[in-house]
Amino acid sequence: MAIEDIIVETPDVKTFRLIFQERKIRRHFSFKAGQFGKYSVFGEGESTFYLASSPTWEGYLECSVRRASKVAEAFHKLGVGDRIGFRGPYGNGFPLPELTGKNLILIGSGIGIVPLRSLIWNCLDFRESFGKITILYGAERVADLVYKRELREWESRRDINLIRTVDPGGEEPGWDGRVGFVPMIMREIDLLPEKSWVITCGPPVMIKFVIEGLISLGFSPERIITTLEMKIRCGLGKCGRCNIGKHYVCQDGPVFTYAQIGEFPNEF
């Protein structure tokens, strides 16, 4: 694939707009929100990133990469016109049929917004098929909020309720969002379990506290969805790396309900 555009999102996250060189693939490639790809910088290796764009956008793909590994570092050095390798899509993706007709509560922090962004734009393309959409998104500092331009756009829409927050100490002059950790802010906004599904993505600690909070608010584990970002290599259920109990995150996940996760051995 060729890099068509690069957007600097935060000091360590860049979004890459990618197009397939082969016209046939470009036309027929399809995926679901919540699926991931394997991206190669030849000579450096291959890494796992979500497909960050909406499945409804045609002609190109996007991925957002946090500079957290050797391969991610190599990605950040690439320029427009450079070529990368891609295989995918892999994984199960979000269960859109189950979400249809429901109120959606999306809770994320940091780079965890990436799979949610794909889902959000996907749902907005069929806005009337969903109930209320609430998004709670936080980051350590204001500078670390990914997709700032889109956050502004979502905030200005009347059919979405977006709450932005930064960790205490991460605010800066002119910040008009909230201050506080995501799990705390979650308790301050009125979240109603009725007819609602929650999808939460982010670092394991955040997910842990968010889920504890949701359970105490009366949400059922069957309607809390999260993603497990175990180390993934092959994406095909062969290399054994992402194994957890009888599951392979790369095939059976990365999207799981909290009810499913409750049955897993405790090592994720």
Partner: protein, 349 residues
């Protein structure tokens, strides 16, 4: 299944012919360890009494296997097949445990998505096995449900009748195909009953009390004992060297790595698949997260995977009782000891 006979002399002649067409891999006694190797003459075959120290898995899942080459000149990237062309192959002397291990790998590499590299190596290889008549000191195949004299999962089985003749069981369609080409080397087995009964009289396959355990009891225990002091106790000595995984005929975990150079104005290299092991800490280490931070958890993963997870996912164990991990673990961690102690511990309840 058809049964034939072949004399040692005919087998030698057949091998001479085969070597002109096939790559032949057979057990060879090396200086330090016995292993499967490519041979160039019948005389090189080792016919060791017990199984080889290294399993034949490396001929189906090579320790470092080139997947594709890449070449980048300016902005153009060219991908191409690596140079490793695989011609038709025969692997000779595979024992029932290792043949069973191949069947386990087959499921992993062909169910829910086919691995073309593995299946190519599998498809172009004829497996000619041999039965075991005496267990090696570390073997426990019968404890995990494997019949050491069965031709299951082989294409052909050769049984040394110790009278300069071999009994030839033609097991699979692939074996039949092979036989139909070379049938003139083989004889009809007129005195089959006599030959066989001489052989079965020799058969002593009693493993002993200390290698007995109950698989159902173990599975049940594993279902309920993700947390148990046994893990820490057993793995306390484990140095995470990965030898157990590398020697194991069913361990198939791998990683990818890129090898590259700058040459002739272009950046070129090879993406390789290399063996990996759940015993290594980097196996699950991500930049921000380590789900298995200690060696006892990694050891638990290995046992759980072989005796529970693989069973839950593929309805098959991932251990064939070859005993390699217990004979060559540098700190003497013994899988059978672990399984026996689980089995006994559970019986007390």
């Amino acid at each position: 299944m058809t049964t034939k006979l072949i004399t040692r002399n005919s087998l030698k002649k057949l091998m001479r012919d085969l070597l002109t067409v096939f790559e032949i891999v057979a057990p060879v006694q090396g200086e330090a360890v016995s292993a499967f190797q490519r041979i160039s003459a019948y005389e090189e075959i080792g016919w060791p009494d017990s199984n080889t120290a290294r399993s034949p898995k490396e001929f189906f899942l090579p320790p470092a296997d080139g997947l594709f080459r890449f070449q980048q000149t300016g902005r153009e990237t060219l991908l191409s097949e690596p140079a490793n062309h695989h011609g038709p192959r025969i692997i000779l002397g595979v024992r029932p445990c290792d043949a069973a291990a191949l069947a386990i790998m087959d499921r992993v590499f062909s169910e829910k998505g086919i691995d073309v590299h593995y299946t190519a190596l599998r498809d172009n290889t004829l497996v000619i096995g041999q039965p075991c008549w005496k267990p090696g000191k570390d073997c426990f195949c019968t404890s995990v449900g494997i019949n050491p004299t069965a031709s299951l999962n082989m294409d052909i089985m050769l049984t040394d009748l110790r009278d300069e003749r071999f009994l030839v069981d033609i097991v699979s369609p692939k074996g039949e195909d092979f036989f139909s080409y070379f049938s003139h080397f083989f004889q009809e087995p007129e005195d089959l009953p006599r030959a066989l009964s001489a052989q079965t009289r020799e058969m002593v396959f009693y493993l002993g009390e200390d290698k007995m355990f109950d698989l159902r009891v173990i599975k049940k225990w594993l279902d309920n004992n993700f947390e148990n002091p046994l893990w820490t106790k057993t793995a306390a000595r484990c140095i995470g060297c990965g030898a157990c995984s590398f020697l194991c005929p069913t361990c198939h975990c791998f990683d990818f790595t890129d090898e590259s150079t700058y040459q002739d104005n272009s950046f070129q290299g090879l993406r390789k698949r290399v063996w990996d092991s759940c015993s290594f800490s980097h196996f699950t280490q991500t930049p921000t997260h380590q789900p298995r931070p200690t060696q006892d958890r990694r050891f638990r993963q290995r046992i759980m995977h072989k005796f529970k997870y693989s069973f839950d996912r593929y309805q098959q164990l991932a251990c064939v009782g070859c005993g390699r991990c217990r004979s060559l673990c540098p700190v003497g961690i013994d899988l059978v000891e672990v399984l026996v102690s689980i089995s006994r511990q559970s019986h007390q309840f």
